[in-house]
């Protein structure tokens, strides 16, 4: 039996009196692009932060390639590359300096110059962080997530704030990563992005999985368009996360994420 890239079972995380994640389970097989979709405050970011070892779960277990990312941080963090929401760099650090610094954190890292080239940042290599555009900052954060040659990459809102061309460029990169056998966990607001990229998707609502499966399965399951021709995953997300349907109905039986692939 192969170890899953990510295995989360019964995860619970509470902030003060609020349950951010309340019994969430999912598993991501090695080599797939897995999407986590859901409204703001549903617990998506908390979930991936637990996978990155940034937070200690209050309950349940998290394993990346069989490793506990909180207890065995150092080992887990050489395997997981993270692109975090709302994380910046020092204003006066240049692009090349930042990437060189992060490369020094990993025993076997990618070549920084080649990575800069791949992300179209070669011309900006001597530009300070403060002077970069939003899209360039985003590309640099992607480069930092990849420089350690991770086996699992977590993108938290990869394309938020990017223009349409830059979004498509990011999608192409994600697909290339998958072609290289790298597992990608994609946290996103955008159903079109998930539909286009993801092998499987989990819809998170109120700290739990409301539904999960292949994008086409979810569209079908939402029952919006039995022929499956016109409805999009976007429609399905709205239907499955805001409808009267209870989570109980949606997560029973084959809807469990376990061995869907």
């Amino acid at each position: 039996m192969t170890t899953n890239a990510l295995e989360i079972t019964g995860l619970r995380k509470r902030y003060g009196g609020k349950m951010a994640v309340d019994g969430l389970s999912l598993s991501v097989s090695e080599g797939e692009i897995f999407g986590i979709l859901g409204p703001n405050g549903a617990g998506k970011t908390t979930t991936v932060e637990c996978a990155e070892g940034l937070r200690r779960p209050d309950g349940g277990t998290v394993r990346v390639f069989g490793i506990d990312p909180y207890r065995d941080r150092r080992e887990a963090r050489t395997l997981v590359g993270a692109q975090l929401q709302e994380s910046e760099l020092q204003d006066k650090l240049t692009v090349a300096e930042a990437l060189g610094l992060y490369a020094s954190f990993y025993p076997r890292h990618a070549d920084p110059e080649a990575l800069l080239h791949r992300l179209g940042l070669t011309e900006k290599r001597n530009t300070r962080y403060r002077k970069l555009s939003g899209g360039q900052k985003q590309r640099l954060s992607i480069a930092l997530a990849l420089v350690g040659r991770p086996r699992l990459v977590v993108f938290d809102e990869l394309t938020t704030g990017l223009d349409p061309a830059a979004r498509r460029e990011s999608w192409r990169l994600v697909e290339e990563l998958r072609d290289d056998g790298i597992t990608v966990l994609l946290v996103t607001h955008y159903a079109d992005e998930a539909e286009r990229l993801c092998d499987r998707v989990a819809l998170v609502r109120a700290g739990r999985i409301a539904a999960s499966g292949r994008p086409d399965e979810l569209i079908e399951r939402a029952g919006l368009d039995p022929a499956g021709r016109y409805a999009t995953l976007d429609d399905a997300v709205v239907a499955l996360t805001t409808s009267q349907l209870t989570t109980g109905q949606l997560t029973t039986g084959q809807l469990s994420t376990g061995d869907a692939a």
Partner: protein
């Protein structure tokens, strides 16, 4: 298919050691790029030293028998250390936390603890360099003798750095962001420097004020530096005050520091 996205591979045999070195080099580079704090912390005491030296007319009874420049040298050393520890360090660290830089590092195998270590290292290095500069220039240009009790002088420097940096870490722990940390640091800086004797040297302070000052970190530091510079071993009480502040502030900072 062309080569994969993350090729070619570069191997680094001792990643962990070189990671800390790279962090220290990066933080040093960033410190140098912030010209104004550097001028304020290291350049300004030098200028004051020059002014004091120019107006110094040999030993002065009202200054405890020291010349003006000799009386001010320990105060300027305290100034340098307090500036980097109370204004530089907390502003930078609280800003790093506010902007998610610490959190980002915690998602790498290296962890943000090493960035904290790198920040402490560069702040110690720059304040020690400035201190050596003050002592050497004071000797060469203005005839202030080099520290007579060198071991006591060095011990005092270490304890002063410990007390100031742990206070700086405590400020960084409590402040919500870089701006607040800078303001709190500046607010602490003024009274602490008052007891160090920046405005009225300790020898000219009323006895009661001076006694209070002996229990403040920089009052104790300046007094111990003064003693060791004139060849005496600093008082055990003064060193104990410095060590006590280091431990108390250090433990509080350790308990209260948040990474995000």
């Amino acid at each position: 298919m062309s080569a994969t996205v993350l090729d070619p591979v570069s191997a680094r045999p001792s990643a962990r050691r070189s990671a800390f070195g790279a962090l220290v080099r990066t933080e040093a580079r960033l410190l140098v790029r912030e010209v104004i704090p550097l001028l304020w912390g290291a350049g300004f005491p030098m200028i004051l030293l020059g002014i004091m030296g120019a107006f110094s007319h040999g030993p002065d009874k009202s200054l405890g028998g020291f010349s003006l420049v000799a009386a001010y040298e320990p105060i300027l050393i305290a100034f340098t250390m307090a500036t980097f520890a109370l204004q530089g360090l907390p502003t930078v660290l609280a800003g790093y936390r506010e902007r998610g830089i610490l959190r980002r590092l915690n998602a790498t195998p290296v962890g943000a603890g090493r960035l904290l270590g790198a920040q402490l290292t560069v702040n110690v290095a720059v304040s020690l360099t400035a201190t050596i500069g003050i002592v050497v220039v004071g000797d060469a240009a203005f005839g202030v003798p080099l520290p007579g009790q060198l071991a006591g002088f060095l011990l005092t420097l270490v304890l002063t750095a410990g007390a100031m940096l742990s206070l700086g870490l405590l400020v960084a722990s409590l402040a919500r962001n870089g701006r607040v940390a800078g303001a709190v640091g500046a607010m602490l800086f003024l009274p602490l420097m008052f007891f160090a004797g920046l405005w009225t040297p300790q020898a000219t302070m009323p006895a009661a004020l001076r006694r209070v000052g002996d229990y403040t970190p920089l009052g104790a530091a300046v007094s111990a530096l003064q003693h060791s510079m004139s060849g005496q071993w600093p008082s055990a009480a003064g060193l104990a005050v410095l060590a006590g502040y280091s431990v108390v502030f250090g433990l509080l900072a350790w308990r209260l520091f948040r990474w995000e």
